[in-house]
């Protein structure tokens, strides 16, 4: 399979403090990759460098054949990265519908995402169409954030704790959605529920203190590994 995203030896800093010490990560077209690690180990930071929200200090990031270092945020996004950020970050004063419209970008491939299709995936959003995002419940906001990322018709969907705060049924819906999307687009997912990650991921990356420490298929994730790197 063709590599879509590739990170090699990425280091990154917040001001003077280093958060990433050498992350290697790659995602192939249509593949689901799970990024795992304890709190504060650098998962979000990694994802931020992928989206160019944070500039890596060293290392190389390529997406769909383009080196993204130094590119403007919006250009990187237009290469086909749809970000569902940690903490949702819906546009608070805008309505649900406007949140989706703001992100909409026509697809270069057939069967692109539209508001109708997003609302079919999350019927709750249709009910709340003209409500301000700031007054949505936490779960509703999460659905909106995913819908919004899909509206950009990405080749890679990045989900940073996308099931946080969701009711079990909805979480199952989202996992179901991820299963559905799988193959259609590549997905990089960060989540705390190992059970689900194991089912959906093609490969897993473990990171600790800003370094990739292990890569492999979920089946190879031994209890020793999870105990050592995830504490369970």
């Amino acid at each position: 399979m063709k590599t879509l995203l590739d990170l090699k030896g990425v280091t990154a800093f917040y001001g003077a403090s280093q958060a990433l010490f050498g992350v290697d990560l790659d995602v192939a077209e249509g593949e689901v990759v799970a990024l795992m690690g304890r709190n504060g180990m650098g998962k979000t930071t990694t994802v931020r460098t992928v989206s160019a929200l944070l500039r890596p200090r060293e290392g190389a990031i390529t997406f769909a054949g383009h080196a993204t270092r130094g590119m403007a945020i919006h250009r990187v996004a237009r290469l086909g990265i749809g970000l569902v950020p940690e903490g949702r970050r819906c546009f608070a004063p805008l309505s649900v519908e406007e949140n989706l419209t703001a992100a909409a970008r026509a697809s270069d491939r057939p069967g692109g995402w539209t508001q109708t299709r997003v609302e079919a995936l999350f019927p709750r959003l249709a009910e709340r169409r003209s409500q301000r995002a700031s007054t949505l419940s936490g779960g509703e906001q999460q659905m909106l954030a995913i819908g919004r990322a899909l509206m950009t018709n990405p080749r890679l969907l990045v989900l940073d704790e996308a099931t946080e705060g969701l009711a079990p049924v909805v979480r199952q819906e989202i996992w179901a959605a991820i299963h559905q999307l799988k193959g259609d687009l590549a997905i990089l997912v960060i989540d705390k529920t190992l059970k689900e990650l194991r089912q959906v991921a093609d490969r897993c990356f473990l990171i600790e203190r800003g370094r990739t420490v292990w890569t492999g298929e979920p089946a190879a994730l031994t209890p020793e590994l999870t105990d050592r790197y995830l504490g369970v």
Partner: protein, 250 residues
């Protein structure tokens, strides 16, 4: 049976046509963890906001230790002993984690208008705050600016501040959210003991934690309590399974 420390009767709140809470009646007894679960948008956070006085209810009454507290504002309610954690961390980003917690200690003591003695030399304050940070698992990060903490670390800070208030009742809005699996495990153990200090009304979507912790569970759907009972009862309740749990009841 002892008297409930918190008793909510017939609480109503509408946003326009939407009934966020509708005739909610609920109580919390000393020493217990009462979990509140329900689908997203069911009104759980809204209920907590009403209990702490952040949004006024349309009807119904809230009693704390047998006294109606409806006339008290949010700050008053905090002072009589209602402590809350927020679903989205609320911290002072430019202060260190330690100072965030020190303020909670200071506020509990009710001594805010002190203009002369520097807080950093107030060992009673710093030591107490430090202890709460360690309880929350954040001791090593005490001097970091809160803004520089990772998401999960902020959740821990949020929790440390609630502890520092030494409240009579905890109202926790999804304390597990954002914690990694090991963090959740530690938190579960911690809460399990904490209930002896003060009872907890726990809103949580992490069913593993809820089933492990809750003495009682109430299920809120579309602003109504559709069931209250023990873990076993709720797990077996078919309505709850379809509305909320799905196949996680198993």
């Amino acid at each position: 049976m002892p008297d409930p420390i918190l008793k909510i009767t017939g609480l109503e709140k509408s946003f326009g046509a939407l009934k966020a809470t509708s005739g909610v009646t609920l109580d919390l007894f000393p020493g217990e963890i009462h979990a509140l679960i329900g689908p997203n948008g069911a009104g759980k956070s809204t209920l907590i906001k009403q209990i702490v006085g952040e949004i006024p209810q349309d009807a119904g009454t809230i009693a704390f230790e047998g006294q109606a507290i409806d006339h008290l504002d949010a700050a008053d309610r905090a002072r009589i002993g209602l402590a809350r954690t927020f679903q989205v961390s609320q911290i002072a980003p430019e202060l260190s984690a330690l100072k965030n917690v020190m303020l909670a200690v200071e506020a509990r003591q009710g001594r805010v208008f002190r203009f002369f003695r520097p807080v950093s030399r107030d060992l009673a304050l710093t030591d107490a705050a430090m202890a709460f940070l360690y309880d929350a698992g954040l001791g090593e990060r005490a001097t970091m600016r809160a803004a520089d903490l990772s998401h999960g670390e902020r959740r821990q800070l949020e929790f440390a501040m609630a502890l520092a208030m030494k409240p009579r009742v905890f109202l926790m809005d999804e304390p597990m959210a954002g914690l990694s699996p090991d963090g959740s495990k530690r938190m579960t153990a911690f809460l399990s003991d904490l209930r002896r200090t003060a009872p907890i009304l726990l809103v949580e979507h992490d069913m593993e934690a809820v089933f492990a912790l809750a003495d009682r569970i109430s299920v809120l759907v579309y602003g109504r309590v559709i069931a209250t009972g023990t873990v076993a009862e709720i797990r077996a309740n078919p309505d709850v399974r379809t509305a909320y749990l799905g196949d996680e009841a198993a």
